[in-house]
């Protein structure tokens, strides 16, 4: 496992005071942060694909927070988002949560709420990153399978018996057993159910 770099909390808010106070609050709990006045500045900025989360004001000049969130996702740079709103309204909150927001805070929020939300977001980011990392390993292992092994895996996962697979592939049951063993080993699957989960994860990608 690669050592995780320190997470960065990104802040996009057009109000300078709010930006600075949030940055200071995060700093007081030893969290790194970067602040932007507009979504475009944030989106255009070069930043390492490190762990982190995004505190996003819903109403922003030029682009709404929700649009910004969507753009990030499209760019494959999804970050857990904590929405801030000057005056939250229900429909906007619902949309935000549906699109995967961690939290929707209405200004003025309690500092602890924000910090809790940040922790939660970072946790989710870590999980997401783990998942992504796991998914990335799975794919690499899958790449090591031979074509025959992938065929066998597909049929195993579909729940066919070795004998049925042999019949389907026009081979003998024993050969299927050997392929199956390779698949399990290469995919580092301890059980059939694990393999099924992996196959599911792969097909979801």
């Amino acid at each position: 496992m690669n050592p995780e770099s320190a997470p960065v909390v990104f802040i996009v808010d057009d109000d300078a005071s709010v930006r600075r106070s949030i940055q200071d609050l995060l700093s007081s709990v030893s969290l790194r942060s970067e602040a932007f006045a507009t979504p475009n500045e944030f989106l255009d900025g070069q930043r390492p694909d490190g762990p982190g989360c995004l505190i996003l004001d819903v109403r922003l000049p030029g682009m709404s927070g929700l649009d910004c969130q969507r753009r990030l996702a499209e760019a494959g740079r999804a970050l857990p988002v904590i929405f801030l709103s000057g005056h939250g309204d229900v429909p906007m909150t619902v949309r935000a949560m549906k699109s995967g927001a961690v939290e929707f805070l209405t200004k003025p929020f309690r500092p602890q709420e924000l910090l809790d939300a940040v922790q939660q977001a970072l946790e989710r980011d870590r999980l997401l990153r783990d998942k992504r990392r796991e998914a990335a390993g799975l794919k690499d292992r899958y790449e090591t399978l031979t074509a025959r092994e992938r065929e066998v895996m597909e049929l195993v996962v579909a729940g066919l018996l070795n004998k049925q697979i042999a019949a389907k592939l026009g081979t003998v049951e024993h050969t299927v057993k050997i392929h199956r063993g390779h698949v399990m080993a290469k995919m580092k699957a301890e059980s059939l159910s694990t393999l099924i989960g992996m196959a599911h994860t792969l097909s979801a990608r």
């Binding site: 057009d14 109000d15 005071s17 709010v18 600075r20 106070s21 949030i22 200071d24 609050l25 700093s27 007081s28 709990v29 109403r59 922003l60 000049p61 030029g62 801030l84 709103s85 000057g86 005056h87 309204d89 209405t106 200004k107 003025p108 929020f109 309690r110 500092p111 602890q112 924000l114 910090l115």
Partner: protein, 771 residues
């Protein structure tokens, strides 16, 4: 008395007069004159009276002197313009030729007549003549024997030759005729005058000399006298030798014998041409007077002493369309309006009885049946004894005046009604003299007793105590001759009612250096109350509009306020955490606290701005502010709204603008309206809202320019109308209220179309010097 000298050579009147003319002096003429002046001249007309002295000295005196007999009896009196002709008869105790009579003890009176012309202009007698009626003279002579028993003795004294001499010498024409009318004698003067011979005129030949127009009449008369034996007297024109005709008075008396039969006619012809001409002139004069009377544009009438109609001039007859005869019964024929008749009759009766001037106005019926108003004045004419002999009446058509009077009356009534309806009273007042002429309505407004004396003190007492300074100031200005005074104030009526009055007055004239004011006072209580209600309603509406706008803005405004508060709480959290560290980071905590302070202040400012929106203040409160600051304040509030509409707000502020006196809250409302409108206009496509300030003559200008959908030019004014809106949620009051606000500040609000997209709203606010 001097003895006549001409007697011996016959009766030459001219000589006779001449003699006595110079001989009057030193006689008892004075006594005669005195008598004459008192009894005769006093009866002469005024024109002659003026020349009394002249008459007496130039004519009467010598004449009287010549014939100091029994002077009496003015026979006739003829007056004409400028010339008075007086003819009178007298009987003189004759002397000279008739001395024989005197000697016999008989006194023979010789009748004669004198005519003189008196020129009033020159105030002197211009001609004088004396005539003796020879016929009478002769008769007297011939009668004498009859009166005296001693006829023969008398006859002896009768000097035939002398007689012939007299007859042929006297300046008159004498003739005689036989009982059958045949004229057998004409004296020499007759013949000389006509230029005819005795043969030619004898018998009936004389008629040839008579004017053809007079001839038949004269002959007729003469024949009648011959038949009846009555004395003849006629006037006729007789031809002179040169063909000219002169008027003569022809007289003839019969001479009868003892048995009473006519034996002879004696006649005289007296030249009366001058008198006749005088009469003609008089007639002409009368005619001309008549013409004047008939043609003057007035109606004239005369009545007798008892009011009986005698004369009506042509205008009068034409007006009534009646004859003079008909109008004598004026009271019976409807000439006077029936409603006026009893009054007219009563007035006439009273006037006639009292002999006083008669003056009454009544309606008279014109020929076409229309009644018109007349003023009828009658003046009594009195004789010397003071008795009324006639009435002169002047009828003046006053219909137009009556109508004018009626119109004035009507106008007055209308004015009073108008004053009543408009609750406006008028006055004319002399403040220093404390004289007040108030209209009825004004008394009613003040609830003063109509009869009570209006005084400055009473007016002052009516003033509302709080408005007494207004009174004092107005009074001071009025006394100081301020031309126009226009004040609004309250009074408290005796009944305790408060009334709002508006008074306007101006100097009408100055009497004895004191200003006299004319003015009007209107009771504006109702409109004042209505105005106050309207003001309240407008304020309510404005407030409602603010609240409406506010509710739409709540989200945005809450956002705006929540920004600094969020910053504050966050910074506070940070601060605490810096301090709570194992190694407290005091410096960082202080920085956080500093930010808390700043953001707290910022929040307070925003709230302060907002507060003014919630204020429901009816009375505007003016303060001197900078328009640039005003715009900045509004921008602070509307920043997030601009974001929401994706609108960029730009400002172009002119530097050094003078401050303006405005109501801050109202100005914020106007700016907010204009800016929100601009933003909403651009909500589809975004854009820039530019707010610029600048200077205009005597004012500062604020323009709010958007790049929105714009306003069609024909709607450019409609947008300011109340309830005009293009927005789904708009009240349509925003711009209407804004304009009201700006105009109440003495400014102007208008819209223009931009060169490119959108519209620009401008308003101006006068700088203090102008406001």
């Amino acid at each position: 008395m001097a003895t006549p000298t001409a007697v011996q050579s016959g009766f030459d009147v001219q000589t006779f007069i001449n003699e006595y003319y110079d001989a009057w002096s030193g006689t008892d003429v004075e006594r005669i004159l005195s008598y004459y002046a008192d009894s005769v001249l006093l009866q002469m007309p005024g024109a002659l009276m003026e020349g009394k002295e002249a008459v007496r000295d130039q004519f009467v005196r010598p004449f009287i002197t010549a014939f100091p007999g029994n002077w009496h009896r003015v026979k006739s009196l003829i007056g004409s313009r400028g010339v008075a002709i007086v003819e009178f008869t007298f009987e003189a105790e004759h002397k000279g030729p008739f001395a024989g009579h005197a000697a016999s003890g008989a006194r023979v009176a010789v009748p004669g007549c004198g005519v003189y012309e008196y020129d009033a202009a020159k105030r002197q007698i211009t001609a004088a003549r004396i005539y003796f009626d020879v016929g009478t003279l002769l008769q007297s002579i011939t009668d004498f024997p009859q009166n005296d028993r001693n006829k023969a003795a008398v006859a002896l004294h009768f000097d035939e030759r002398n007689m012939s001499l007299i007859v042929n010498t006297i300046p008159t024409f004498a003739w005689s005729a036989r009982p059958d009318g045949y004229r057998d004698f004409f004296n020499q003067r007759w013949l000389d005058y006509t230029g005819m011979t005795a043969e030619q005129v004898a018998g009936w030949g004389w008629a040839e000399a008579i004017h053809p127009e007079d001839r038949p009449q004269l002959i007729e008369h003469w024949r009648g006298c011959l038949a009846s034996g009555a004395p003849a007297e006629a006037e006729a024109r007789i031809r002179r030798f040169d063909g000219a005709y002169r008027w003569f008075l022809v007289r003839a008396n019969p001479l009868r014998n003892d048995s009473g039969n006519i034996v002879k006619w004696y006649g005289t012809n007296i030249d009366i041409d001058d008198r006749k001409r005088g009469e003609d002139a008089l007639r002409a004069t009368e005619l001309s007077w008549r013409q004047i009377v008939d043609n003057i544009p007035g109606m004239v009438a005369t009545t007798g002493a008892m009011g009986e109609v005698e004369f009506l001039n042509r205008q009068t007859l034409e007006y009534f369309g009646k004859t003079q005869e008909e109008l004598k019964d004026w009271a019976l024929i409807g000439a006077v309006h029936p409603d006026d008749l009893p009054r007219v009759i009563a007035a006439r009766r009273q006037s006639l009885e009292a002999g006083e001037i008669y003056d009454i106005e009544h309606r008279c019926r014109r020929a076409d049946g229309v009644y018109r108003w007349f003023q009828v004045r009658g003046l009594p004419v009195r004789n010397a004894g003071g008795t009324i002999t006639a009435w002169y009446l002047l009828l003046t058509d006053i219909e137009d005046r009556k109508q004018a009077e009626a119109q004035v009356e009507q106008a007055y009534v209308r004015l009073a009604q108008a004053q009543r309806l408009s609750k406006t009273g008028s006055f004319i007042t002399d403040l220093l003299g404390d004289e007040h002429n108030w209209s009825e309505e004004l008394c009613r407004i003040f609830e003063f007793d109509p009869g009570a004396q209006v005084t400055t003190q009473a007016i002052r007492a009516a003033f509302h105590p709080e408005d007494l300074p207004v009174y004092e100031d107005a009074f001071k200005r009025a006394v100081g001759l301020d031309r126009e005074i226009d004040i609004t104030y309250r009074i408290i009526t005796p009944a305790g009612k408060v009334k709002h009055l508006h008074a306007v007055s101006r100097v009408m004239e100055q009497v004895a250096a004191r200003p006299v004011y004319i003015g009007a006072i209107q009771d504006v209580t109702e409109s004042k109350v209505a105005e106050e209600a309207l003001t309240r309603a407008r304020a309510e509406l404005a407030h409602m509009a603010r609240v409406t706008t506010l509710s739409a803005l709540t989200a945005s405004i809450a956002h705006e306020i929540n920004q600094p508060i969020a910053a504050v709480t966050t910074s506070a959290g940070a601060c605490l955490r810096w301090l709570d560290r194992d190694n407290p980071e005091v410096q960082r905590a202080r920085e956080a606290a500093k930010r808390i302070e700043e953001d707290g202040k910022r929040a307070a400012e925003i709230i302060a701005h907002l507060k003014s929106f919630y204020r429901k203040d009816v009375s505007p409160q003016r303060a001197m502010v900078s328009v640039n600051d005003l715009v900045d304040e509004m921008l602070a509030l509307l920043q997030s709204e601009a974001h929401r509409h994706s609108v960029v707000v730009r400002t172009q502020f002119a530097a050094g603008l003078p401050a303006v006196s405005v109501d801050r809250v109202q100005m914020q409302q106007v700016l907010m309206n204009l800016m929100l409108n601009g933003m909403e206009a651009m909500s589809q496509g975004g854009g820039a809202l530019t707010i610029s300030t600048g200077r205009e003559s005597g004012a500062v200008r604020v323009s709010v320019q958007d790049g929105g959908v714009g306003i069609p030019s024909e709607k450019m004014e409609d947008v300011f109308n109340a309830f005009y809106t293009t927005k789904v949620t708009g009240t349509g009051m925003g711009l209407a209220i804004s304009r009201t606000i700006i105009e109440s500040h003495g400014g102007r609000l208008w819209a223009t179309a931009n060169q490119g997209r959108g519209a620009t709203f401008h308003f101006t606010l006068p700088t203090e010097a102008q406001a």
